[in-house]
């Protein structure tokens, strides 16, 4: 069974690093760099996991997550959020918006891999 992750990140270098990591883990990685149409892209791609940046052009990650959680079939989709702002207020906001895991940039690659594995395992159990 092929696992698909959708990476929404506008920094091409970061996106490339994550793609490298997850591809080696056996994930099928799709990337998208714009916030504006992100919700639609997620709906269309039907990924097993979403990695979401916060500071995105067009629409920020918090709003995308909020809108996503309003959709019926997106309640349980695991979303790993990455932010470079790293203020405690952001973590709160993200939790209220329904985030599955929240990580601050810069992250260690091991952390990201662990988080992706955990989230996938939780989602598979359901």
């Amino acid at each position: 069974m092929s696992r698909k992750v959708l990476l929404i990140e506008d920094e091409p270098n970061i996106a490339e690093a994550i793609r490298f990591l997850l591809t080696r883990e056996g994930w099928q990685v799709e990337t998208h760099g714009d916030g504006m149409d992100a919700v639609q892209v997620i709906q269309d791609a039907k990924p097993d996991l979403v990695i979401l940046d916060v500071m995105l052009p067009g629409k920020n990650g918090m709003d995308i997550l909020r809108d996503l959680r309003e959709l019926e079939d997106m309640q349980n989709l695991p979303v790993l959020m990455l932010t470079a702002r790293g203020q405690s207020r952001d973590r709160e906001m993200a939790e209220n918006a329904g985030v599955s895991r929240f990580m601050t940039k810069p992250f260690s690659n091991a952390e990201v891999l662990t988080a992706v594995r955990d989230l996938h395992a939780q989602a598979s159990r359901l």
């Binding site: 970061i14 067009g58 790293g86 940039k105």
Partner: protein, 892 residues
Amino acid sequence: MATLNVLILVCLGYVVLLFGVAFAADRMAAAGRGKWLRSPLIYTLSLSIYCTAWTFYGAVGNAARSGLEFVTIYLGPTLVMVSWWWGLRKLVRIGRSQRVTSIADLISSRYGKSNTLAVCVTILAVLGGTPYIALQLQSITLSFSIFAEADPSGLYREGSSVFWVAAGLAMFAILFGTRNLDANERHHGVVTAIALESVVKLFALLAVGIFVVWGVAGGIGPMMDRIDASEIGQWNVDAGRWTTFIFLSAAAFVCLPRMFQVMVVENDDEGHLRTAAWAFPLYLLLMSLFVVPIAVIGLDLMPEGSNPDLFVLTVPLSQGNDWLAMLSFIGGFSSATSMVIVTAMALSTMVSNHLVMPIWLNMQEGSGSVSGDVRNIVLLARRVSIAVIMALGYFYYSLSGGGTALASIGLVAFAGISQILPALVGGLFWRGATRTGALVGLSVGFVLWIYTLLLPGMGAAWMPETVLQNGPFGLGWLRPQALFGIEGIDPMVHTVMWSMSLNTIAFCVASLLSFPSPLERLQGAQFVNVFDHSAAPRGWTGSVAQSEDLMIMTQRILGAGPAQEFFQSEAEQQGGRSRLPEPTPGFLERLERELSGSVGAATAHAMIGQIVGGSSVSVEDLLAVADESAQMLEYSSQLEVKSAELSRTARQLREANTKLTQVSEQKDSFLSQVSHELRTPMTSIRAFSEIMRDTQGLSAEEQTRYAAIIHDEALRLTRLLDDLLDLSVLESGQVNLNMGDDSLRSVLDRAVSSALAGTDQQLSVRRSLISERIPLHTDLDRLGQVFINLISNAQKYCDAAEPVLTISAHDVGGQVVIDFTDNGSGIPPEAQSMVFEKFARVGVDKVGGAGLGLAICREIMQRLGGEISYLPGQGGAAFRISLPLAYRQAAQ
């Protein structure tokens, strides 16, 4: 022959009697007994102080010299009493309701409580009154001297006797005239004493008359024959002089301070006037009854050259009737003393109230508040005033030498005091009369009186003969006794005609031209409508005249604008026939409601009730209420100002707070931006360095690529830190400018080559090298930094297929203006205002920069004294840099 010593004894006895009567009357009044003290009879008799020694002795003298003309002096007051008693009643009513203390007070009160007017009237009264007092003293002296001639052995000294008489009269006036302060408390002692004196003088004159007719002439028949035979009996009437004298005596009867004192101030009951209206003319008739017989017999009996003014004394003496002569002397003495006492009292009230007290109060103002013991000060002022007035009379008598100069002074004084008449009568009957009018009229009359009558009468020392003959400075039409070239008139008639007519005209014209103050208008209404105001309440009805009062009152409370608006709208509702609405019940109700808003319901009702219905509230109370409300309004408007200030402060605080919050938010957002901009390259660096460390078997390509990414991101990080530091230095203002001289052209040359070095993109830069030959004196590196930033931006963001940047330079009015315009799609309008803000990156694509470049440019240009701005509507993105040339000159 009666000895002089007996006379002096009788005199002293008489004075003691007067003291006794006055004392007893005061005691009785104080004890609440003695209703007869307030009887119409006493009132009428007290009015008889009109008949002074001048009348007592002078009437006979006058008759002996000028025939029947003396009658005019009696006819004036008689006419007033008989035909104008309603006017007097008004005067008395006003005097009582306004608590008037003197004629000066009345005039001042009528014209808005003007002390200036009061001072004028007081001075006029003192000027007219002093010679009059001297005249009384002279009459006493003359009558004394008659007895002294008859008794050379006596102890009589003319000068000293006058002094003692004056001193005694002053004492009497002080003792009985200044016992209490309130004008509403009457001087029963004085009034009773002068009533007694009136009886004495009438009795004395009648006794002499009866003696002359029946004792000397031998009955009425022979007397009539003798009168027919003499010149006096001839009906020889000079119409001008008669009219003038009747008018004068009538005017003086109303205006003289002493008459005002007994008639108005001492009046207990308006009803007494009804009695006086017939009793006083009767008294005058009796006084004049025997004047002609005494004069005729005197002329017959007495030797040529004897003074006819003293016939009343000398005729009985010559017939050996010493006791009658003594009675006659006492009569004359009574006339003189009563006049002097009342005049001194009346004048002292005026002097102390209108001259001394204002000055004293003014002096007190400087030294804190007025002490509680004003009463004693006022009393002291009155007593001193009495003494001073008596002293003035005494000195006037001494200086004038007691000669014939005094003889006509009575009429002169009448003419002077009559100048008050227009202001008085106008004030009683004409609401349009104003303070200015009164002042102007009074001044005109006063000056004319002095110039045409008083000064010429005082002799050549005061009025040189040449002025009398040719006028001042040779101006013939200004001759004192022939003003405007009208000659040949009797001086007295001349003066009265001109002074009274010009006084009246000036009074009317000035009144019409000037505007009264609210207090004046209210007092005017109070005076003119005194009977309406004190009439029984009539409910809410009234006349248009009352509407005017209501208007004035409303203006004081609501302010002129709103009051006029209200009245106008009411008048329009009523059909708009007149400017003011009729005071209908509906209107009054609405007005009351309107006023209630400002002064409260009870006060509003009382106010309207006062004007329309007549209530017990006095105008003063009303004005006090109005002033209070004005103060309240002022206070509340002050509060409004305060509260406006407070809310302004609150708003400012709110604004400051908002600003602080904004600044704090900006700082937070800046920090979070900085954090983001730092963390992003660090994330890449960390991720790829971990990949390179942890991943086995990376291809050489991959290794090279990832190392390059790490390198780029590290450079990005360095640039960002450089920019942040640069911006922080610029913003803190601690930047050191490194000034240098070069041409714009070479600065641009360096900037272009630096910006385009090491890039693969082909941005063509178009320049106009000729126009760039502008010398600059500035920080060349900083300016270059700005240029590089702009060129790099064009290179990064210009989205045209063949990007072109045009740089043009002009020298515009002392400024270098350099425009950088590219041919891309430009910056969207909504973002244009943002481009110079920190981290304000426009557009989706990230091309290296952190968004601090333009913010730095703005700071640099500010430091260089220039400006950078975005030029909208130029096709592509266009920035304008302007730099003052003056900066160069200033720096040198």
